[in-house]
């Protein structure tokens, strides 16, 4: 989309009635789009604050349940079924159902800095419930799968050393399952960052979705219309990639070297299998 794209974009823009993508860099170059209460920076801050609250709540709910069913092995089928069903929920529909249903009974004008403006509590709670429910399945399924994948010999050794059930969970199963748990948290976080944009369909809630929901009513406007929607969308995508990278880094720090195998001295030796594979694929 680099050199030579400009003229084509212009042609395209007059075709579909919206400003071309060449207006997006112009939008990013305008400092007035960054500052102020409706600027990019405040909305990025709100977006991240909302994401953090949702993911933390989801972890608080999903992690103990996941550890418990992973440890006991009970209820796996039921939980897996519920988790899959939650995945199929159309987010927007569920949010709006709760909003239309709950908001008349929520009259509190309470505000929470970065999260809830005056009168936005009903909208906030609706979005919060749905997004927490959306973030639970990846964390939950990865947690119990991680615990179940722990080598039974390791678990038996821990019991043989005299650990109680709770100690086995905390000192053995949790650290061993940590890579998988963290990758569940990563995918939940990515999903939430992407889906918080849906919150902006409701009035009063901020975050980067505000640019998108507002822009849809004002497409041709060069400052608030299509260029702002694409700009904000690109920032959401960028945030997702950045956060994914950060969590990946975090994972390298907190996972025990013994589990991740980073300091492993084992060398993988070429096996007959590998040799056969090499032959077959040639």
């Amino acid at each position: 989309m680099a050199a030579g794209g400009g003229a084509m974009m212009h042609l395209v823009a007059s075709d579909n009635g919206i400003p071309g993508l060449d207006r997006v860099p112009v939008w990013f170059n305008d400092p007035s789009n960054y500052w102020g209460p409706d600027g990019l920076l405040v909305r990025i801050r709100d977006h991240l604050a909302f994401t953090v609250v949702i993911v933390l709540l989801a972890i608080v709910i999903a992690l103990p349940i996941g550890l418990l069913i992973g440890h006991t092995g009970r209820g796996v089928v039921a939980v897996a079924g519920v988790a899959n069903a939650l995945r199929a929920i159309p987010t927007l529909g569920f949010v709006l159902l709760l909003y239309v249903w709950l908001s008349p009974s929520i009259t509190s004008r309470m505000t929470i800095p970065y999260l809830v403006p005056r009168g936005g509590l009903g909208a906030f709670i609706s979005v919060l419930i749905v997004l927490v429910l959306l973030a639970i399945p990846p964390i939950l399924t990865n947690t119990y799968a991680g615990v179940q994948a722990v080598d039974p010999a390791v678990r038996d050794a821990a019991k043989g050393m005299g650990m109680r059930g709770g100690q086995v969970v905390r000192k053995v199963e949790f650290p061993c399952a940590l890579p998988l748990i963290l990758s569940g948290i990563r995918s939940a976080t990515l999903q939430v960052i992407a889906t918080v944009t849906v919150a902006a369909y409701l009035p009063l809630l901020g975050g980067l979705g505000r640019f998108i929901a507002d822009g849809a009513n004002n497409l041709t406007n060069l400052q608030f219309g299509y260029p702002a929607m694409v700009g904000a969308g690109l920032v959401v995508a960028l945030l997702a990639v950045l956060v994914d990278g950060l969590l990946n880094l975090f994972q390298r720090f907190v996972v025990s070297p013994g589990v991740s195998g980073r300091f492993s001295t084992k060398r993988t030796e070429p096996t007959i299998q590998a040799a056969m594979e090499a032959q077959l694929t040639n």
Binding site: M1, M9, V12, D15, N16, G17, I18, G20, L21, V24, N84, R87, A88, I89, P90, T91, L92, G93, F94, L96, L97, Y99, V100, W101, L190, I193, A194, T195, T197, V198, A200, Y201, G209, I212, A213, A216, L219, Y226, M229, V230, G233, L234, V236, A237, A240, V241, D244, Q273, M276, E277, L280, T281
Partner: protein, 217 residues
């Protein structure tokens, strides 16, 4: 429930139009995505060095929020912003991103003994791929297709935020009129659509894997 049914009968023509759009938005991207993912996944499996770059590119594509793709695509394709084609292309991209890896892993999961036997029986490389490797990979690929199909169905309604007309409009209508019945109707219809779609895919997998039932006997 009666008010939900009444809403349906009162707005039947609108809803049937939306349903039709939603159905093709659910089916076509999964089919097209699979058709593109098969050769790409095969390349990942056949030339191992292509596996890391292709699957990580697919992973990055998958992190792009759906709403963002719905918005950016009109600028790239020159379509109108409310054109359902944008949604179809975006969902195709997601299906492809998810399935490339699944196809590669599925083909890779076929045991080398099986492949060696096929070669020993005189299958050429191409015959072995289509008559042995691909059929055996169907359960793995099929599981991936089911995940893609169900998550696509739930993504379709997101397009309502910018106003693309499909069953998600029921949610918008409920919000605008401050009414619960259209929202419940929308949730029920999306849910049924996901189930029907899932069952159809399950049936197709079943037809394509007759040996699984033969072994069970």
């Amino acid at each position: 429930m009666t008010s939900v049914w009444r809403y349906f009968t009162d707005h039947q023509s609108d809803i049937m139009g939306w349903l039709w759009t939603t159905v093709w938005l659910a089916v076509v991207p999964v089919a097209v995505g699979l058709v593109i993912a098969l050769p790409l996944g095969w390349i990942c499996n056949r030339y191992r060095w292509t596996y890391p770059p292709i699957t990580s590119a697919a992973g990055i594509l998958y992190t792009i929020p759906s709403l963002v793709l719905f918005i950016v695509l009109p600028g790239i394709l020159g379509t109108k912003i409310l054109d359902p084609v944008n949604v179809a292309v975006a969902l195709t991209v997601y299906t492809l991103a998810l399935l490339v890896r699944v196809v590669a892993d599925g083909l890779n999961s076929v045991s080398l003994d099986t492949l060696a036997s096929a070669s020993a029986m005189g299958y050429t490389g191409r015959q072995r791929l289509f008559a042995v490797q691909l059929p055996i990979a169907v359960p793995v690929i099929g599981a991936g297709v089911r995940v893609a199909a169900v998550s696509n169905v739930s993504l379709i309604s997101v397009a309502s935020i910018i106003g693309v007309s499909q069953l998600g409009q029921l949610f918008i209508a409920g919000n605008v009129d401050n009414q619960i019945p259209p929202i419940v109707l929308g949730l029920i219809m999306f849910f049924l659509l996901a189930i029907v779609f899932d069952v159809v895919i399950l049936l197709i997998i079943r037809v394509l894997t007759p040996w699984q039932r033969a072994a069970a006997r």
